[in-house]
Structures are given as C-alpha cells and as structure tokens.
C-alpha cells in the first residue's frame, strides 16, 4: 500500500489529467485552473533548474578556484536589466555572448552535417551496378531530392517557367508524400501519449480507494462547468 503522500500525489495528477482533457470538449473553469497550474509549474521548474545549474556548476567552479566565474555571475545579473526602461541596453552585452556562442556552434557544424554530408550521401548513390529495384529506388530518391532543392529556388523565376514547372510539381508530390508519412507518425506519438495518461488513470489511480466514486463526480462537475453560467440550473445568476 502506497504511503499517504503518494496517494495525494496520484489523486492530484489524476484530477489534473481529467481537467486538461476537458478542453477537447469545451472551455471550463477546471481547465483554466489546471492550465494556470501548468504554466506556473513550467516557469517555476525552469527557474529552479536554472538556480540548480548556477549553484552546482557555476558556484562549484568558483569555489573550486576558478575565480574568473565572478565575471559570469555579474554578466548573468546584468541580463535582468532588460526589464528596466532606461538601462535595458546593458543586457545586450551578456546576451551578445550567448548569441555569439549559439551562432558559432551552429555555423561551424551545420555546413558539414546538414549541407555537405547530405550532398555527399546523395552524390554517392549508385544507379549502375546494383539490382533493378535498388537502382529504381535510388533514382526516385535522387529525383525527389534534387527537385525539392530546386523547388526552393525563388529568385530565378525563369527556372520555374514553361516546361520546367514539372520539376516543382514532382517536388510537391514528393513533399506531400513525406507529409502524409509524418502525419501518420504524429498520430502514433499523440496516441502513445494519451495511452500513457489513460494507463495512469486506469492502473494507478482507479484502483485506489474511493477513486471509482470520485471519477463520475469529477465528470459531472466538469460537464456542469462547461454549461455557460446563465444557462445553469443552479446557482441562478443575476444577469
């Protein structure tokens, strides 16, 4: 038997789950409550993890003898000048360091991993000396890749005029097929997530004492909350 704290935890998690799902049917006050809890929890958790990193990593390095970290702490605090109407520009300096790191790390590897490596892999595809089916598949692959790259060329309008329009059509067909595949995979992902919540409700919450009684009560309250205030049988509103 789970201890009391765990039981409370399960009840809370279960109620939040039901309240959030209610939005699929209609907006209501329980959803609003759960949603505000969600936004608050996300912001709170993120802040707490930030503090954890500052203490565990930054402070750890500092007391480990890396005194230069004091500069980082100062820069970090300066980030918050963005909320000041006159001195907001001070936050640009630490932010510039962050942006510079991001841009530098991205540029130096994107050129290889998303550009050259992709070109290299396409260029190495064999059309001769392989079995017919592989050759056909490779040919389809090459045609779609080339035509999609071609499709996204915008400033040479002549490249899309006349008979050349066929290339864009092929590209579009290729992309639509890809989107169909992605769509099906998204269904799988979302359903897996729903399964996770339903599984929690059915195998963790409902076996607890009173949960079977609480479920219909919660649902009735929800349906009630979905009815617009003026049409509710009780309590009667003035307006």
């Amino acid at each position: 038997m789970a201890d009391f704290a765990t039981i409370i935890q399960i009840w809370l998690a279960a109620l939040f789950t039901i309240w959030i799902y209610s939005i699929a049917f209609r907006d209501n006050v329980f959803f609003k409550f759960a949603e505000h809890t969600f936004v608050g929890a996300a912001a709170g958790h993120s802040l707490v993890m930030g503090i954890d990193n500052i203490l565990r990593i930054g402070w750890g390095n500092f007391i480990g003898g890396n005194y230069i970290y004091i500069i980082v702490f100062i820069l970090g605090v300066l980030l918050f000048t963005r909320y000041h109407s006159d001195y907001f520009w001070v936050s640009r300096f630490p932010l510039a360091v962050l942006v510079g790191i991001g841009v530098g790390l991205m540029m130096r590897t994107t050129i290889t991993s998303e550009f050259i490596a992709q070109i290299q892999s396409t260029a190495g595809m064999k059309l001769l000396g392989v079995d017919t089916w592989t050759a056909f598949s490779n040919l389809v692959f090459i045609i779609i890749t080339l035509s999609v790259v071609y499709y996204f060329i915008f400033t040479f309008p002549k490249m899309h005029g006349g008979g050349l329009g066929i290339i864009s059509t092929i590209a579009k067909y290729g992309m639509m097929a890809a989107f169909g595949y992605s769509f099906a995979n998204t269904v799988l992902s979302r359903f897996n997530m729903i399964f996770g919540r339903f599984d929690f409700i059915m195998s963790t919450w409902l076996p607890l004492p009173y949960a079977m009684i609480a479920l219909p009560v919660a649902l009735i309250l929800l349906i009630y909350a979905m009815i617009p205030a003026e049409r509710r049988p009780w309590p009667k509103t003035q307006k």
């Binding site: 699929a24 049917f25 958790h45 993120s46 993890m49 930030g50 954890d52 990193n53 565990r56 990593i57 750890g60 390095n61 480990g64 790191i101 991001g102 790390l105 991205m106 590897t109 994107t110 290889t112 991993s113 998303e114 490596a117 992709q118 290299q120 892999s121 890809a178 595949y181 992605s182 995979n185 998204t186 269904v187 799988l188 992902s189 979302r190 359903f191 897996n192 997530m193 729903i194 399964f195 996770g196 919540r197 339903f198 599984d199 059915m202």
Partner: protein, 282 residues
C-alpha cells in the same frame, strides 16, 4: 441551405466532434480493460540498435542523454528503460547519463525506479551515473564533449565526480564508445549530430517521438545516425530484451485506435465523394 436540405452525406461529414472524441476514448479504454495481446513484429532499426549495443566491447563507456520532457515520457520512458535493461544484462558497460532537458534528472529517477538496477547487481557511481541537467542544449553538448570536468564537477545530486569510480579516465567525447539520446526536441536530436558526430565521429543512436522521425531520416541515410527509432517502438525493444513492460502493453491500444483512424478516413472520404457524386451543390 436550410436544415431540411441536409443529405445523408452532409450529416455524415458533420458528425459532432464530441461523438468522434467519445468513440476515440472508448477505443482507448476497451483494449485496456480486455487485453488481446496482439503480436508485435521487430523492425530493422530496432534490431540494428540492439546489435550495436550487443557488439560493444567489454569496458566501453557510453553517454546517454535524457533529453526528453515529461510530455514525451509515455513514449520515450519505456524505450530508455528497455535499453538500460539490455545494457545491464549484457554487463561490462559503464553508462554516464546527462540531460539536455530540464526535466531529465527527474525522469532519470523515474526510469531507474522502474528499472531497479540492483537486480543486475549494478551500483550508482560504479556502473552508472547521471552528471545532471546542463543548460544551453548545443552549448552543453559541445562543452561536455570538450571537457566534462571543466563543465561540471558534480553529479546531479551535487556530489563531486571525483568520488565516483565510474568517472576515472572519462574526460571528453573521445572517451565514449557510443552516444544514445532520447528526446522530444529537435534541438537535441539534431544538436548531437552537429556537436558530437560531426566533431568527434561518436557512433550515435537516436530515439525520438514518432512524429520527429521523418525530419531526422536524412541524418540516418547519410550515416550520421547508426539507428533512428521512435519511442513507440519500445515494445519491440522489450521483446528483444525479454522484459515486457509498458511498451508492449500499448500494442493493443495502438492497434485498435489506428484501425479507428483508418476507418474514419475511409468513412470521411465516402461522405465526401458521396456528396460530390450525388450533386452536393444542390
């Protein structure tokens, strides 16, 4: 068009969403109440993932990124657990984990509770460890790849790394034989390709939400990812490792709900074409 002119096709197309959602909920609940135990075929990516870990030499150290958020836990958690089962069963491999998602350490605890490493005689700090959530996503990957201790000197609980024997001689990306990432974010799954594979050529196994698989496919095709799987394939991994758990449990539900989707597409299109051919314009 008045209400009276509604044809059967119109009615079919306009089924209220509450009805659709109701059917969906029922198709989730029924197979959970009455499990059928549908078979699950193993796909080549999962087999390739399994083989990659199986072939790791004794004494290898691997890096695992718990880069997913709570939202993706139902999908990615079972996969992470099944793979840990495999690694611990095989033995002789040290697992260093980190997180690029701020919920990663909490989800790591959850996974370890489900896994129970002590059943394999594995000890925290000796056979596996978690060096914590490190902010910055790609900056974190780059920093850890260059020099772990310059980035963090403690594990996720704040205990100095020096106290753990697993960290002896483990300093940078080059010390790792394999990289595994479970993630709900494209920044993570793609970031590892850029910051570790491109820079250090570390073999990379990547497990993402099924919806992210298509955008990651070109990396696998170009050889930058050894095996790309979705968390939805966790059931297959559980079968290979012989530890049936949450992943396999979802197989029935996923089958029924997907059949429902196919049925909905078919009915929807019948309504559409029915309307079209019966002169829906009126």
């Amino acid at each position: 068009m008045g209400k009276e002119s509604k044809t059967i096709w119109d009615r079919l197309e306009d089924i209220p969403r509450e009805v659709l959602y109701g059917i969906l909920i029922i198709s989730f609940i029924m197979p959970m109440l009455f499990p059928i135990g549908f078979p699950v075929p193993i796909s080549p990516e999962v087999k390739r993932w399994y083989d990659t870990i199986d072939k790791l030499p004794n004494g290898s150290v691997i890096m695992v990124d718990f880069g997913y958020s709570g939202g993706g836990e139902p999908e990615l958690g079972p996969m992470a657990v099944a793979v840990y089962h495999h690694i611990f069963k095989k033995g002789g491999i040290k697992v260093v984990a980190m997180s690029t998602s701020n919920e990663g350490t909490l989800l790591f605890d959850k996974a370890m509770a489900e896994l129970n490493p002590s059943q394999y005689g594995k000890q925290y700090g000796v056979d596996y460890i978690h060096i914590g959530y490190i902010t910055g996503t790609e900056s974190a990957m780059a920093a850890v790849g260059k020099d772990i201790r310059a980035t963090t000197t403690t594990d996720y609980k704040g205990t100095p790394l020096a106290q753990y024997s697993i960290m002896d001689g483990v300093n940078e990306a080059k010390d790792f034989a394999l990289l595994i990432c479970y993630t709900t974010g494209g920044d993570q799954s793609e970031g590892w390709v850029r910051q570790w594979y491109t820079t250090y050529q570390t073999p990379y196994l990547c497990c993402v939400l099924a919806m992210m698989v298509p955008t990651m496919l070109p990396y696998q095709k170009a050889g930058q990812i050894v095996s790309l799987t979705s968390g939805a394939q966790a059931g297959q991994m559980e079968l290979l490792v012989h530890v049936p758990a949450r992943g396999i449990k979802s197989a029935d539900v996923i089958t029924i709900t997907h059949l429902l989707c196919i049925a909905l597409v078919v009915v929807g299109n019948i309504a559409y074409f029915g309307k079209k051919f019966s002169g829906g314009k009126q």
